[in-house]
């Protein structure tokens, strides 16, 4: 499980402040599943990363035309992080918020917020770095144009 109703441990000095709902430009509702809960009665900490993967890849597919079955360029995760603030549990539906913090030539750093429905403050928030690579050689490749355009719409500074 994740943070439960526990008072939060003292924040790490380098920790990003938890972003509120209005900091995100894109949301995907995700229904929790029975198996998401663990022995302690709330969604297991691992499962939040499955929500991250899902909101990111859904966006890349729907808005950027990512072809996970046969496309020549794919995104692989090189780093991920999550801070857990308050628990969620099956049968809740959560809203996964997504924004882009940094967009490089072949990499992108996403920030994700997990919100209970109707809540302004996140239950958890984290980040995730994708490097885009050639499917066969697995060497870094420039972001495909359509994906770049889709991700630019999620950056903080886009109009």
């Amino acid at each position: 499980m994740s943070a439960g109703g526990a008072n939060r441990v003292k924040p790490m000095p380098n920790e990003a402040k938890a972003p509120a709902r209005d900091a995100f430009r894109h949301f995907l509702p995700i229904a929790t599943r029975w198996m998401d809960n663990d022995v302690y009665g709330h969604v297991n900490n691992v499962v939040y990363y499955a929500y991250f993967d899902t909101v990111i890849n859904r966006y890349l597919i729907d808005e950027g035309g990512l072809d996970i079955a046969g496309g020549g360029t794919i995104g692989v995760c090189v780093e991920s992080h999550c801070a857990y603030l308050r628990p969620v549990a099956f049968p809740d539906t959560i809203d996964a918020g997504l924004r882009v913090a940094h967009l490089g030539r072949s990499s992108v750093r996403y920030e994700i917020g997990i919100f209970g429905q109707g809540q302004a403050e996140p239950s958890a928030h984290g980040w995730f770095v994708h490097v885009f690579v050639d499917r066969l050689t697995r060497r870094p490749a420039p972001l495909p144009e359509r994906i770049r355009a889709a991700l630019e719409r999620l950056t903080d500074t886009s109009p």
Copy 2:
């Protein structure tokens, strides 16, 4: 999937150097499962956190006497992080290395390395913060003595 065969993205300035196998004091072999692999053919980034959860809780149960079914004090995750360096895939068995980076009154910060068998350099490494709480009130509680003693044996400075 995780980092694939890709050249690693330029490290973040604040990133911890990847710890080698001899930096860890405890190991648990974990057999990968068919479902651990994703569409891109390697263990999915999410699954590494299931390995983290497993090596940590196995240690707490086996060495610290943690009672996940009925104990009065339980550990909840408040923060986790993973950096992915090279892929692993089913049917590999991996070694999960565990050490303790910080041991507080009611919290502990673990570091974990995921190693291919026979490999000195990790495939992935990360950290994970547990806050121990009262099972019912979910308020922070001191680490039970037997758990504290077990975790001290995994700190860097223990003899």
Copy 3:
């Protein structure tokens, strides 16, 4: 993965005919997740059972008042089965259909159909038997009245 585009193996003599969408009285849309797909590019056979668990327990909670955290009577699975007819894949959303084939004193046999959206014929169909037990003794217990009433609404012979 499950049956893929493969021609179906010759049906077993005792196999139930695949039920069409109009055979079900209750549906839950379930969004697939990135991790649901396996190496072969479609939702893994295991994951269908997570859909079964989810449609069943959501119905028991929403309509029958099942309290998974503290209720005195809980449902445990004693048998499950699935036949896979055609594949589904992330990022599809599926509709999970649910009906009740048999309602006993302390047990219930559900039938589930997994449908692509807008499709009349199932991608997969299966069944699942719950025995209701006392949470503490784990001995069979009569179905709570509110749950029984909710399940009767899903039986074939209800008006």
Copy 4:
């Protein structure tokens, strides 16, 4: 969770008798993971199918030379079933027993038993049907010779 300590529901007339440990010719020890347990404190019914997938595919890879990344012929699941007799729970390690009940031209029916270590009677048992198909067309294909030879060693009637 699965059957818990519950008395078993009355067996279905067509149900196979639970096979004991000595009915199996091949075993794979599988360590449970933290996430395998559900809210009710035991391994979730879904997870047993992940054990099935794992013992089967490990055997096909190790003994039959199945190449899941690039081989021309792959096995897809068309039907699966599990009966749950008594619970297992993290941190247990289970033994997954495997035998072959029927070997056709392009399909195979496996039987699996899940045993607590040192136990003669299964915690759960089930079956699983693979159809081998061409990876690209997904049409049934004859079992590759090396796989057939490996599976014949697991049939009841092999010497």
